[in-house]
Symmetry: C2
Subunit: 444 residues, 2 copies
């Protein structure tokens, strides 16, 4: 028979750790009704156990020794919330080895060492919950692994980083500069002191790697993903985009195409009329296309103490329910046996073709436009529209062009030549345009 009390140990008493502890303590009665078993917060481990968290933790629960969790034979579920690769990896592998079920919010770890951890959990037949690693409170892992289990997914797209989306949304709504909004976001606690992961697309890539593994049933490495961040986006680009009917979003795109897999993250102009373009503030959205269910979108807060705590506790309850029923074997981390994951060929960015937005910083003198257009023409890049605003003789003015369908490699080559000419005063800004309907139609 199953257990009557499930003992949980939480490693990491920071933001997410205290959100998790708060839910486990304050909602104990609700969680017991819903899981059919008592879930007890038996241990919280943190290097700093003295700091105030606004929570009245019972005596004996707090410890600064992780072995008090790992070596506790009564502990059923080990919750890792310290983030980073090491020592999180070692602690998780050790917990698995000792037969403990694991819940983690650690996307960086899963995106880089997921294979090792997935296989260890599978071998030891323990549960591994990581809903909190992608999309905070949005149950997107569960949707992909269980809700859409009957589907072959063709496409997963989305806005997967709340900080980047907050910055772009503020820039769009208020016409503010990137640096100013970043500073504001840091003051408000929406952005880290070191915002690199968020604004350079790395955090988004971690999430795309995890989601793509599950959605496409294939192994994904970080190096499979093309990554470009938002730090080069200016208010002027956002304004031009708007004039053409687009919003700029840091979009993650994963899709099956030509028997391979395309994985890319970059600032993207998407039509304002598309639901993804309407996702503002610090919100995330995941847009999935399945062969049976069609288009599905999940929207919500992708980060934060309580949303992420909500996802951590959902995983705890899933495992607790199973343990209460006396199950030995839990859902496999990847949704299928690790050995059944395919090795889908990753499609290089060189094979991408699409439409592009260019903003040239060119000297404003006669013949410049002709020269730029000439180079583009040589590379077979045809221009759909040109906008030139505000003329100041001899000074730099933005010349904006939207292209028709063009090949990424040719775009790169053409811009290299243009940026090397004496009319170019700065590197050309390039933003990809996705009308999304092409991706959507291709998928179904």
């Amino acid at each position: 028979m199953g257990k009557e009390i499930i003992n949980v140990g939480v490693l990491g008493f920071g933001t997410v750790g205290s959100g998790t502890a708060q839910i486990l303590m304050n909602q104990a009665q609700l969680l017991r009704e819903r899981s059919g078993v008592g879930i007890r917060l038996r241990r919280i481990c943190d290097r700093n156990i003295a700091g105030p968290r606004g929570l009245d933790v019972p005596d004996g629960v707090l410890t600064d020794d992780v072995n008090a969790l790992l070596d506790d034979p009564e502990l059923d579920i080990f919750v890792e919330l310290i983030g980073g690769i090491e020592p999180a990896r070692q602690f998780i592998l050790s917990a698995i080895e000792k037969g403990k079920h694991v819940v983690t919010a650690n996307k960086a770890l899963l995106a880089t060492c997921g294979h090792e951890i997935f296989q260890a959990a599978e071998r030891r037949k323990v549960g591994l919950g990581f809903e909190a690693s992608v999309g905070g409170g949005v149950p997107v892992i569960k949707a992909v692994r269980e809700g859409l289990v009957a589907n072959s997914l063709h496409t997963i797209m989305g806005i997967m980083n709340g900080t980047a989306n907050y910055i772009l949304s503020r820039m769009t709504d208020e016409g503010l500069a990137f640096g100013d909004v970043l500073k504001e976001a840091q003051t408000l606690g929406y952005a880290e002191a070191d915002p690199t992961f968020d604004i350079e697309g790395i955090d988004t890539a971690h999430k795309l790697a995890i989601l793509a593994t599950l959605a496409f049933g294939t192994r994904v490495e970080m190096s499979d993903i093309y990554i470009e961040g938002i730090s080069s986006i200016s208010p002027v680009d956002i304004e031009f985009a708007s004039g053409f009917g687009y919003n700029i979003k840091l979009l993650a795109i994963g899709r099956r195409i030509d028997g391979g897999l395309e994985l890319r993250i970059h600032p993207t102009m998407i039509p304002k009329s598309h639901l993804l373009a309407q996702v503002g503030g610090a919100y995330n959205a995941f847009y999935l296309i399945g062969d049976a269910a069609g288009k599905i979108m999940l929207y919500g807060l992708g980060a934060g103490k309580m949303p992420t705590g909500s996802a951590v506790v959902a995983d705890i309850v899933d495992i607790a329910r199973s343990l209460a029923m006396g199950i030995e074997r839990l859902t496999l981390p990847a949704g299928v046996p690790f050995g059944a994951l395919s090795l889908l060929k990753k499609r290089s960015m060189d094979l991408i073709s699409g439409r592009y937005y260019f903003r040239f910083s060119a000297v404003d003198r006669p013949g410049v436009l002709a020269r730029i257009a000439g180079v583009l023409g040589e590379f077979g890049i045809s221009i759909a529209s040109v906008v030139q605003k505000g003329r100041r003789q001899g000074a730099s003015v933005p010349i904006v062009m939207l292209t028709h369908e063009a090949q990424e490699t040719r775009v790169r080559d053409a811009l290299k030549i243009i940026d090397d000419t004496d009319v170019a005063l700065d590197k050309t800004v390039v933003i990809r345009i996705e009308d999304l309907t092409a991706i959507e139609d291709n998928a179904v």
Copy 2:
């Protein structure tokens, strides 16, 4: 130990039945990998087994005798897809009695006889899956019951009927009349020959009843829900709404308020800037607010052969996975023991107050506006804006008013008086306005 083959019997070989059969047959390999067990479509029962479904069903699978499913000791999961109350109810209760797990898409049945069926399944310790009863391919039941298990949900709102949303969207985009779009929708197969359930809000109410039971952990009866359909909406109302910055949607609202539960469905003006206002075509959207996760939206196709089939198969896989692991006790239908469901007091519409849109069909002569305004004033209803377009002396012209916050009962009383005066040529059209931010802020 668990089973190695899970035998499934499907009752009803119509649209959803053939979608389900198609997925079970064509995706057998994928489903085996993902569930860890073979799922065999052992029987399909339909009164008409001769009709073509574009599916090559193996010999011996088709039957017109439901007892070939119910009395088959090898059958593990009974899938009911015939819809309607009887005989679906009898068949499901009989299957449960015989210890079979049940999957159903039958929202009308669950909304009206759910208590009986939930209790029967709980007593007999069988699984009862009904993801397909709400939101087609959108895994909203799973999100509420599992993904958001750590939350007290305060609010569930949404666009829960694709047909009604298709009609309103077409009216909005093309300026077409209700009747014309309905006919078009019937021709395209988006609307039934008898569209009453869809356009009068009854189908939406079935879904709200099911969702509210799970979301709020309380018993809900159909009579607890205030229901108003969309058949009285004219293009002119949509146009006026647009001028004020609103789209009109058939919105279902369920929320905890003042210790009770408010459940209502009616055409609603919502701000165009809100994500729900952007949900067009035959799409559904579910907007949930939890105390931990915050605002969550799930969007997708709420009906159709393959989306609904996707949800049916997801439920089958969930049960199959559990059976493969040798579990005897499955997740409880209501998420908690039936006896733990509360009896939250349902809030009468009389207690609602909000902002209103009125379109008066009044004779166009001096003093009419004053007379209408006078009556409203007597009932304490204060006017925020008035629009009167196109004057034709002596003929009926629309006078449109938007109110400030007013009480539903007073609105009803005032309009009764106005509609009884000799200046009123037709019944006043009333549409409620929800800015949604008030509901959202109240919730968290």
